[in-house]
Symmetry: D2
Subunit: 416 residues, 4 copies
């Protein structure tokens, strides 16, 4: 028996509708897919369980799946990112929701299990939250699942381990590996929204400041790009010597993080690793150093060590914790080391999530469409769907990509 929605406050729906409508207005790719691919009936009657950061942009994806005929149940992937107003609006639009902002741990778990108990055919997953619990606690429901999409690298790593242990009986499409995901969401999306959140929360001036970026992967490249765009002098610290030289050729300063710790005004992490900034860095930092994290998990700073070193800890400003060290220096940590852009802002730009969710929508549609059959285990989203998202986006912009002539195609093939 499936319970009805559990949300905090239905009266907040109006604000939620506004936010969802704003996302809808700025999601031309999803709108196009809804009118075409999703309208072909393949989702009719399919049960879809969705777990994501539950705010307006994801809500809009859920609405479109619902409007395509699916029975959609949504739950949050993170206790703090769920917005109650959006949940209330979702329920009014016919989507089942099990989610409240900042729930108890038990409630958070309960919501996910309730979503699984709807006996979904398809999973739209983030960090393998649904898949992992399905395998552990609902083996009976597993064979019903036709497939899943997974948005994060972290989730893929978990699923790969499950697959290797032979406990993943359905196909999972990895969204992060699609170029339209990591080149845009990880790089431009994270960089853009993190720098905006950093400046909106601190009211500080970035131009001329020294911003230390830990790592030079896609996320860090985005951080560096937008920080430099606002006039910061960027310093990059990275273990891969080739990436470090790329950073240097981009005009960024490159150095070891122990040296950078002494000169940085801002420190941004986006490595995916843990304790990237730790005691040996904190004790070298200047008074007033600001630390913010753009990586998935909140363990890129060793906050336990910072707390231990500090004589006081207090809220210096909304979303900013100040730690005072025995030498009088103050270190400021934004959003307690959680994701800067969603923990202290509205998350990625709408247009970027339009691309990421378009990949999910096509992935779910691909899994649901009867024409395909899949091996269990992790697989890439078909390259063709990746390009399709790009082509739709260009079409909504009125841009025609170059077309190769017959002669050019022949020429290229002649070397293959």
């Amino acid at each position: 028996m499936i319970k009805d929605s559990i949300i905090k406050d239905p009266s907040l729906a109006d604000e939620g509708h506004k936010k969802i409508d704003w996302a809808a207005q700025h999601s031309p790719v999803l709108n196009d897919i809804a009118r075409k691919q999703l309208a072909d009936g393949s989702l009719k009657g399919r049960k879809v369980a969705v777990t994501v950061h539950l705010e307006a942009k994801t809500a809009y994806l859920a609405v479109l799946l619902h409007e395509a005929g699916a029975e959609v149940t949504v739950t949050g992937s993170n206790p703090l990112s769920t917005q109650d107003a959006v949940c209330a609006a979702l329920v009014e639009r016919g989507v089942r929701v099990f989610a409240t902002h900042d729930p108890s741990e038990e409630d958070f778990e309960r919501y996910i299990h309730l979503a699984l108990e709807t006996e979904p055919d398809l999973l739209l997953d983030d960090g393998a939250e649904l898949a992992a619990r399905l395998v552990e606690s609902h083996p009976d429901l597993m064979e019903k699942v036709e497939g899943a999409t997974e948005t994060t690298t972290t989730g893929i790593l978990k699923l790969r381990a499950m697959s290797e242990e032979g406990v993943l009986p359905f196909p999972v499409l990895g969204i992060n590996e699609a170029r339209m995901k990591h080149l845009f969401d990880n790089r431009y999306g994270t960089g853009h929204s993190s720098i905006v959140s950093l400046l909106a929360n601190t009211n500080l001036f970035l131009s001329g400041k020294r911003v230390v970026i830990m790592g030079f992967g896609w996320v860090s490249r985005g951080l560096a790009k937008y920080a430099a765009g606002f006039g910061a002098r960027v310093i990059v610290c990275e273990p891969d010597p080739v990436k470090l030289l790329e950073a240097h050729s981009e005009g960024y300063e490159v150095m070891n993080s122990l040296e950078a710790a002494e000169v940085g005004d801002f420190f941004l992490t986006g490595t995916g690793n843990l304790k990237v900034l730790r005691r040996e860095h904190f004790e070298r930092m200047k008074d007033g150093a600001v630390l913010a994290n753009a990586g998935h998990y909140d363990h890129e700073f060793d906050l336990a060590a910072l707390r231990e070193m500090s004589v006081t800890e207090r809220e210096a400003r909304r979303n900013i914790t100040e730690y005072e060290l025995p030498n009088g220096n103050r270190i400021h940590v934004i959003a307690r080391g959680r994701l800067l852009n969603s923990g202290a802002g509205d998350g990625h730009p709408v247009e970027i999530m339009d691309l990421t969710f378009a990949l999910h929508a096509l992935g779910i549609h691909h899994l649901a469409s009867s024409a395909h059959s899949f091996e269990p285990g992790i697989q890439a989203l078909p390259e063709e769907l990746d390009r399709e998202v790009a082509r739709i986006k260009l079409r909504t912009m009125g841009v025609r990509p170059e077309e190769l002539t017959e002669e050019q195609i022949r020429y290229q093939k002649s070397w293959r």
Copy 2:
């Protein structure tokens, strides 16, 4: 008889103290001036009336004047920018305050007159709000006034008119003409904070978007610089052909605003003129165009015309009004055309206001110091004080400007 402070809610002081402390931490120039110039006793017992956007950064200036021995009374220069928490904290720190957030028009007027009734020796003015009312309504108090500082071009224009009519009997130091003001506050400060506010309020993606900048004065140059820094394709519209060619050489697209109206995604104004965007522009705009103003007054858009043209007007998102035109196109106006950065954000970056307020502090000190005597009327802040602010800032950064050798000084003079 002087009334005590009038504020909304003394219990908000804690939050106000946090914000003021944050400003204090990031105001090295003001702190240096407080320790040196202000500590010489010239302000002891002087009554100073201050009217400004009443938030943390101005509050900190008032606190420093108070700590230098002045009797400081503060009121707000704009009904909406006053922050009640900051007012509560100011009172606890010994500054008299007449200000509440969003007061009635009568109250707003009353507060300014109450500030004048303290019989100030010195005025720190914004838009000539204090000076104009003094001349009109308190002629008896005018001769007590030793001088004023004025922060805006608009205020200077009013004061110049007063001076020409012979009704300005005290000296006024124009702060805006100082290089450390307009090159930093107008250009970097407005540009930086306006782009941050634009993106924090809309959650939209700027990279690749076409941003139309109306004007190419200091404010507009800042807007263009930071928009381009975030990957926008900037379009500049400007009547002065020389400035327009400068914009072109910077790599910005230049065109007439009627053409720009058809292609822009975002429209930013910073001209100081009125009806810069009007009916003929609105009717050409694309669906979803976003309009925001960074100029002093809220009349750069002809909102009356927009309203008249529209079939609906509604709040699309916090701080965003959506106008739907008969052709179905939606136009989004941020902060109802008021200053984008302070109407929908925290105003200029702290470090920038540290410079502007340092000029005010030195100006007030200069007026109060017995060594000087001044002619009535508007005059420039002495060039030496302008440079002094720059020198202090560099010193706090540990930077030594170049020193010319004897031979170089001789060489330069030899041509004069």
Copy 3:
């Protein structure tokens, strides 16, 4: 009696015609002025003496003046910048030329005097070379002169001294003060062409390198802008603390030149002062430091000191002199400290000189036109001609500047 042209080799004319035609193709503003203003007959029969860096762009200006009916005589303003092929082509087009590449000092002087002996009505001067010699040696010819245009600040300074001594009996229009000159020629033109010359001559990689810019006036801003655009990390050294803070806010590193000397890879000067880099800098420099000058005179480096300090001096590559210091470090000086862009390249971009020479052409036309009468002494080029050049340039680009409405004009005036 006026001698015929003196040039090196008439057989070089073909190459000169090509270069002049290339300049002509890319000089839309001059072409427009030739078709309109110059075609009104005011220059008919007027004798014009021109002294400039004698290469294709200036040659084209001379040709246009000739085609407008003037009797034009040209001589070089600098012994080394004269191109013999261009001179040969000029003669074939009907312009009298007294100039050869790298003449003896006596010949250089003789050529200028020959130009003056043509009894010119109008002078187009560079560094006051014509005016100074006229005053000193040809007092009899002075009263015939109706006026002059002068392109450099250096020339204006000389002329001002002459004016103050009462020995300048004709009007001189200062071209450098026009916005269309110094904002474009000094900033964009010098910066653009100097960085190109630096890289074409050294075959070195600029990205990630530390480029020390001495000064932060118009020339230095251009150098910094284009160096940064190629991925360099720019360091600015400047005595004016306000300009130094501007450099800092642009994201450039700022420091004292003695510190900069230790870390710079490239050193560029553009201050107008002398011995900007000297012994105390040379002895701190890294092995391989490259020095180049973009300022008018070749005394911004103290080459005498460098030579004295060095154990060897040799040509390391075309246009590059290598000095080896006793500690083994090698210092590389481009073009012996002469103007980098014209001493080791083709000078400013054509389109930039089109603007500068358009100002000269309008200035000469303005002086020649009977409608005006002028006081003797230095005066600004009329603001209207400055704007006219900008307007023509925009028209050739098909760009319409913004037009103010009646209401906007009234609004602006209401404050005046």
Copy 4:
């Protein structure tokens, strides 16, 4: 029997030595490898045949191999890029050379065969010039060959075809696939040097101009980056929709090339395909359009079509051919469509070739070192050598990459 060197003019050696010394000074990575890896004796007595663009940077590589004990023979990979002065200096330094600038076709062929007749043990190849002729004409010498390095993608494609036909009996290390090659040489190296050559040859102004970049692979990204850095407005045309959206997010304009043809001022190709700009583009171009190619082959423009369409063809300036169309429009082609940076300039920056040649040097050393044995056919340069080049470069810069802690390494592994 091996002939002695064949060069044009031994008396040019002095100029050649200067150029080689300049390259040597700016090749810290090669110098480090010479002192360490190459000094281990593995190259002693090995015969190495080298074919490359024969200028100072490649000459220096040959010198180092010779100094490591190898018997080195060098020939040119392209008739026009060989510099006679460099050849003369090489011979004086003990390297055998068969090369002259602009030889007859027969001589060009003869030189390569002479190099092969030295019976080399190792080949350093460019475009498979040596390998292809060896297979075709010298089957007897093939089994002596221990291995080769190949620098271009084009060469690898040829070699792959040979390998598939079973006619490649020795191992070939593909250099282009190394990250330290294509991320630096193709992107930064080509972009940097091509834009410098474009501007040095045309004397035109890039800021504000519209530069159409054909393609958005590594080469084109470099072109776009440096063009934008000089203030150009970049337009990208590319068939891959994902890459086209990346270009858009970088702030570049994206469109179809038929539209771009109408608005571009400069057109740069770097696609590796043929007839990228053709009749349909030429007929849409504006008067004065400038075309330059940065791709490997000179067939990216359909020059035959352009010639056929034109009423005249003439040299407009050194390295610039002007085609006049019947409508009067003039199209300017630089270096006849050959590689812009080496056909009309000094090729890639020295520091970039230091990296590429360091990969070759380590590759040759790797092949020569007895500790390894290789399968025949194409293989990647070991990732470890790729990183080693990066590590050496960083060491010469004094930069330490980040080191992961034990805990971080464990954390990363825990997901694998």
